[in-house]
Each structure stands twice: as C-alpha cells, then as structure tokens.
C-alpha cells in the first residue's frame, strides 16, 4: 500500500538473511576453530618417535603411541569385517526384498538404533562378551563398534540401491537371470561405489568412538597380543592421557587427537570427493 510498508518488509528480509548467514558462519567456524586449535596444540608433540615407540613407563617423559595406532586399526578393522557384511546384506534385503510390516520394523529399528548412545552399546558388549569371559578384549571392543556400524551401513546401502533404475533390474530379469544373481551381480555392483563410500564413512565414524571402548577394549600400555587381550586404541588413549595429571601426557593427548582427526578427516574428504561425480 505505502512506501513505509514495503521498506519494512525489505528490512525484515535483509535482517533475517543476515541472521541466517551469521549462524551458518558460526556452524562452519566451529569446525575450523577445532581443526586449528588441535593442529596448533598437537603439531608440536608429533614426531617420528611418537608414532613408532611404545608408551614410556608412567612418570617418565617421552614415549609414543604406536600400540594405540595398531590397536585402533585392529579393532576398527575387525568391527568392519563383522559390521559391513551384515549392514550391506540387510540393506540389500530392505531395498530388494523387503515389503510390508517386517521391512518397516527393520528400517525403524535401524533408525532408532542409530540414535542409541554408543555407551549403551558398549554396555551391551560388556554384558555379552566381557562379563562371561571375565576379561577385557579387543574382540569385545570390535563387536561394540560393529553394532554401531550396522545401522549406518544398512541405511546407506538401502538408499544407494534405491537409486538403481528399475529398468536395469527388469532388463536382467527379462534375460532369465535368477533373482539372487540379478541382485548380487547387477544391482549391487551398480550401486557399489556408494555402498563402499558409506562403509568407509561408517568406519571413520566408529574409529573416533571412545565410550564403548572404555570397558571393552579397556586400553593397554604395552604391545598388544591377540584379539582376546585388552588393547589400546587411539580415542581411549586420548581420553586417558587428557584426564591424567601429567603435562607431558596432555601434550601427547593433543598429538594423538591430531592424528585421529587427520585420519577421520582424510577418510571423510576422500569418500565424499570420490562419490561426487555420479551421485544425485
């Protein structure tokens, strides 16, 4: 109607745009701030010997975290061996075979599982494996991480399988190929890149989990042996060092955090770049 009214609408528009922009900057800024701070704090303590030596005896300066790096690789690798096949296959079930109530129940359960705190999953692994065996072990840690991975991998697999055009499915079926062969040799490879990326992202996600490892993998200051003994892992080592009273350990915690973060970031960035060209 009048000029003042238009001006007010425009002002509100500009104000709200500025507000959203500021919030977006805060969101992105947090990531940069965390990266920069950990980089700054951790870089000074990272050295070749830090990466290749076992921890020094308590109270002595120096030492490294090689056992935690190997331990993390072992636990996360084992978790992947258990979690990825289960997750991918159940994703295949949901996308290719699942109909009706059961499929809905599985999908809903996976989504809710995704939000269950990792410490509760750890508690479950403790009750399932550690308590009966009377021993903390790498295996129990891996099982806990695998349980966390399954719903993530499952939902991701399902989503990528749904992107495969129905015509490809029908073409294969029309040639007289049995259903399972269509699924395993046509559909899954078509969505392969997405499925693989999802699995990698899930691995990166559980590699940073601490809570379920405190009372399953437990930590270990010596070189690890086997899957049935306590084992050191990067996130757990960071936690123990960070709440310790020693200045030297604090620095090592920062350095270990830097390494863990670099790993997770590298996996994330690679996976996303790799996925980009063909994703929708």
């Amino acid at each position: 109607m009048n000029e003042a009214y238009y001006a007010r609408r425009k002002r509100v528009n500009a104000l709200m745009f500025a507000l959203t922009a500021v919030c977006a900057v805060i969101s992105a800024g947090t990531l940069l701030a965390i990266l920069a701070y950990i980089g700054w704090k951790g870089a000074s303590a990272v050295s070749w010997s830090f990466l290749t030596k076992l921890p020094a005896p308590v109270g002595e300066p120096g030492g490294g975290i090689v056992n935690s790096i190997i331990g993390s690789a072992k636990v996360v690798g084992l978790a992947g061996l258990i979690g990825i096949p289960v997750g991918v296959l159940s994703g295949v079930y949901l996308a290719e075979y699942g109909r009706g109530k059961l499929a809905f129940a599985v999908r809903y359960a996976a989504d809710v599982m995704n939000g269950v705190p990792s410490i509760v999953v750890g508690l479950f692994a403790y009750a399932l494996i550690v308590h009966p065996m009377k021993k903390f072990s790498a295996l129990s840690g891996a099982v806990a991480l695998a349980l966390i991975m399954v719903p993530i991998v499952l939902r991701n697999t399902e989503e990528f399988l749904r992107l495969v055009p129905g015509t490809i499915r029908e073409a294969a079926l029309a040639l007289g190929v049995p259903r399972w062969k269509v699924t395993m040799m046509v559909i899954v490879p078509t969505a392969g890149r997405g499925i693989l990326t999802g699995a990698l992202l899930a691995l990166a996600r559980v590699a940073g989990e601490t809570a379920p490892l405190i009372f399953t993998a437990f930590g270990n200051r010596f070189a690890d042996d086997g899957l049935l003994n306590p084992i050191a892992t990067l996130p757990h080592t960071i936690f123990t060092y960070a709440i310790s009273p020693y200045e030297d350990w604090h620095n090592q915690a920062w350095a270990a955090a830097l390494i863990l973060m670099a790993f997770v970031l590298a996996v994330n960035v690679t996976a996303r770049l790799w996925l980009r060209p063909r994703s929708t």
């Binding site: 939000g115 269950v116 705190p117 410490i119 509760v120 601490t210 405190i214 009372f215 936690f239």
Partner: protein, 146 residues
C-alpha cells in the same frame, strides 16, 4: 554443567543443520514459486511456505539431535565435573547418566554395583529410544507426503 551444555550445543549443531537442509529441500518448488509470484520477499517465502511445510521434519531433526546429546558420553565426562550431587547452579559440577557408566563400569567390583550401572544404562536407553522413536516417526510422516 554449563560447559557441558555448550559443548553439546556445538556437537549437535551439524546434525540439526544437515537434517533441516534435507527437509527443506523436499519443499515443492511450485509452492515457493507461487509465493514469489505473489510478490513475497525471500524471508516471507521461508516463513510462509518452507518452514510450515517442513515443520514436523525440523522438529523431528531437533529431537534426533537432542537424543544424541542425551547419550553423548566422552565430551561430557571430561568437562561436567563428575560430582554425584544435585547442584542448583548451572556453574556447579554435575554428573550425567552416560558419564557415570563411563567412569565406574570398568572398575565396578561388586555385582550390586555392576547391576546398578546396567540399570542406569537401561534408563538411558529407554529415554533415547522413546525420543528417537518419536523423532523418526515425525520424519517418516514428512517423507511419505513428499
């Protein structure tokens, strides 16, 4: 406790951002274009069309994120102070369910202690399952409509 709250706020921020973005992307273009066609400003379109359309999805996403914050363990354990008392002030140290489990389970010696910790885990799980279950249903409802 204040520190723990701040940390959690920053930790759930990305979840809320991504979910909100995805939900807003499902808003049909014609609805927005119709609004622009009537001469609305950008903000008026967001307020009048996008937000109401995506409301249940955004609320669902927020609850999903809160569910995560509820069970977040390590970051909270490190800063909350681990004090087994109910403090009135936000600036006093406190304790969270997840932190109790994280601190005590590996050292629980007696069966009673262990059972108590597992019971805390059960309560924590029940709360998060309810929160997540409700949030997911809200998100599903939006997906079906889209």
């Amino acid at each position: 406790m204040l520190t723990a709250g701040l940390i959690l706020a920053f930790m759930i921020l990305p979840y809320i951002t991504t979910i909100t973005r995805e939900v807003l992307l499902t808003v049909p273009r014609p609805l927005k274009e119709a609004m622009y066609g009537l001469g609305a400003t950008r903000w008026e379109v967001v307020r009048g069309v996008s937000l109401p359309y995506a409301k249940s999805g955004i609320v669902g996403g927020v609850f999903l994120a809160l569910g995560r914050a509820l069970g977040e363990t390590m970051a909270v354990t490190m800063v909350i102070g681990n004090n087994p008392k109910i403090a009135l002030s936000l600036l006093e140290p406190g304790y969270s369910m997840a932190a109790v489990i994280a601190n005590e389970l590996a050292e629980a010696a007696s069966d009673a202690h262990l059972s108590a910790l597992v019971a805390i885990g059960l309560v924590l799980m029940a709360v998060t399952v309810v929160v997540n279950g409700a949030a997911r249903l809200m998100l599903y409802r939006l997906q079906r409509r889209a």
